[in-house]
Symmetry: C4
Subunit: 263 residues, 4 copies
């Protein structure tokens, strides 16, 4: 069960999809969150799934909320192309769920005519990067040529061999539908898991160049501070949830005598 | 596969849903169990699910019973509003199951016209609470105002960030359907896992105030004793079931020579 | 996906279901296997499931076979009641699978008019039982009275609190359909896991008394020897399969430098 | 969700299915990969599944690709029988997935009239085999006689008792559909997990004899080198993916004070 509920049905012109979810360095989450704020994109749909963790978060300290992914749209005043953004609280907690949620997202945006997909993630290097780079991978070779001046190193495969989770799967599954796309990965230490605004900025600079978006980076640090708190909370909750489950299973207090069982 | 079977189809007037299942301190289970007894609520449906543990419990020491959740109704003689109670043996044992079972419960009660949901759980503090408080979280801000005199501290988010399992998910999913609701959490030590009648009482005092129910607390200690035995049994069985599964997987007795395998 | 394939569609008169699958002491498997042999029951359907382990066993050392459960029937020459037997290679390897397989079995036999279900299992005591007893649990209280002279101790709940897996769930789910039934458990050490023909005999004596079956126990030891080999093989294979899966996951050989990853 | 997409709909005459996927010693993957190259078989369909790992691999270091299994066909110029080959990046990562993917593969090839299935795998002996042998198991006894001169030892059951994963399940499930088939297993050390071209050659010699295929083995070493790189990459990625998941779950960094939770 993965459910998408539309809040509005906007008319969009030639929209592209940009996805940034929590992950390594929270680069995708932060970059897309910033674009949404700066462009004043509008929320128009939301998704929840049985493949997310089975808990609700407390919003403003008294209000329960399901874990969700959100869809926003931005109508380009210059009429070049509109944008659908996807961001949210979390990714799937099961392998099958990753596929199911990604397919649902693509089913939904395909109805709006999306033909291009941009996903954002982090490339964990294990070291503090003084000058992080943006790496990229594509669905089609021609995109390497098309975006060669966007400041992206497309030989990412020389550093890593795969892209785990939504950033990768969305692109792989989009390709199956004849969509084209790019995954942009910001270099980040990745350990310990901290939000990395510097890497997010590098990625944003490339992305805005690719899409010819006019976005001021001046408020990034400030916005990251705002987002950070909520992202950290859910991240920490997920870790605790995993721990509780583990604890439940690991420390049964059963008297020896009770150990008799039937089967 | 989650199945709800109706035993009766009562006519209910403006019913609210109150849910208390086994969990931290068994506060929800005990509080709702007490209300059912005191109000002489009537069982009218039952639910079982493949997401519950795969065993049957022995009732009265000779009769097998599936693990179940039960629906009871109470027709308010003062015609203010009727009540549907949900309580039972257990919660789901898989993350996806939590979502599936909660949706089934809401589907079922929605048909009876339920628009308000009250769920009860425990807030584990890790310390013995001499004067436990009732904390609350809501689906809609206005409920904080509405119930401000019920003795509930609504700033629960200052102490914790999430509500795991049925108590939280039912509320989160109810909100998606336009229902309103409150989750009341009784402060309890939470470790070791013991039924906490004092916390259950605190929660009951708030709940009965909110719903203007006239319920005598005088028999709570006695009722808790009655319920305790059965709750403890299933709790212990679940721990043992988990252990057996773990043991099965952890101690294979295979001769080295047999280790050749095919693939 | 759980599939039942009928090999024949026998006409059965008032059939009862008797189920014995591998489990503690393999008591159910051995007892039902013996009845099938002695009564010359005929195989008429087979079941396989994605919830069984994902491997095939080698039969007669060269022939592949899916893991299966099998349905046999016996037409009572005295026209008292016919019998459907279910036995097989294994039980489900997932919790949900236990429910799914049990429901499929009941769906199938219900079409033949089955109204009574007998399941057989083992009660592991952790000690070598010199004089093992047969314990029983029922779906309906009246069965305790009905079978009081069958040599079964119905106060099993005093020794254990639950019945895990097919023997218990089949009975619990049968009760939901209005079927009646008994689970007979033979007392056995349960550790280390060995086939226990003595406990199987005790159970058989009660079962044949309940159903007024005329079965000679004289060949039990011999038959157990025949069955033992195959049962042990699959048991050992399942342990090894679990180990391999565990090993695969536990011993990744990854160079540190390769640890960089993307997300 | 397991999806097969056809790229072409070839007319095939009396086709047999030959399956070789990654596994022990990668014998199946390498043997089938070699036949595809040598016979210039043509790719005509591809399969992906939510039961594969949730990541994409980077092809040619810049292009994302879903994990897939591929279907190739070869039209026999001598008109004896055509061949459908199945090979690919991986097998399922969940037990249920093994069944689902195998059924989908058989559904698909059945439409082309496939009645015979040959699967290839490795038999891990734990020792370096100087003169590895090809072992075989069959769906029907008569095949042992039919292929007695193909250099296969059909008493594989004397060495092992089961075949895990696709090589075994495809044969077991094919038998349920009335198809016939053989699983050929090349003896290999199996530890540490390395591609074993010698065992692949032994298997290929038997397979080509059985199918009267005229294939030169001279380029095997060379081809193995080509394939090895890609196979190793995905293998290593899967290990890392498993590690990351494990690490995520194993090392939560939660402050003690945060341990309070609700339920």
């Amino acid at each position: 069960m993965t459910v998408i509920k539309a809040l509005e049905e906007p008319k969009l012109k030639n929209p592209v999809l940009i996805v940034g979810l929590p992950g390594i360095g929270n680069i995708g989450r932060v970059a897309v969150g910033y674009l949404i704020k700066e462009l004043k994109a509008k929320k128009f749909a939301q998704l929840y799934s049985e493949h997310f963790f089975p808990f609700v978060v407390l919003h403003k300290s008294y209000q329960v909320r399901l874990l969700k992914n959100y869809f926003y749209y931005w109508s380009d005043p210059k009429k070049q192309r509109d944008i659908i953004f996807v961001t949210g609280d979390c990714q799937s907690q099961s392998p099958q769920g990753h596929y199911e949620v990604a397919e649902k997202v693509l089913d939904f945006v395909e109805k709006y005519g999306v033909k291009s997909v941009f996903t954002i993630g982090g490339l964990a290097t294990g070291e503090v990067e003084k000058k992080p780079k943006a790496y990229g991978s594509v669905t089609h070779k021609e995109l390497v040529e098309k975006y060669k001046n966007a400041g992206i190193e497309f030989e990412v495969g020389k550093r890593v061999g795969y892209i785990v989770g939504a950033a990768g799967l969305l692109l792989g599954l989009a390709r199956e539908r004849g969509m084209k796309g790019v995954c942009i990965l910001g270099e980040t230490s990745g350990f310990p898991i901290v939000t990395d605004p510097k890497a997010a900025e590098i990625v944003l600079r490339s992305l805005t160049k690719m899409l010819k978006l006019d976005v001021d980076m001046g408020r990034l640090a400030e916005r990251v501070n705002e987002m950070e708190k909520f992202i950290k909370k859910i991240e920490s909750l997920q870790r605790k949830a995993v721990m509780e489950i583990a604890k439940d299973e690991a420390t049964p207090v059963v008297k020896k005598e009770e150990m008799r069982y039937i089967g």
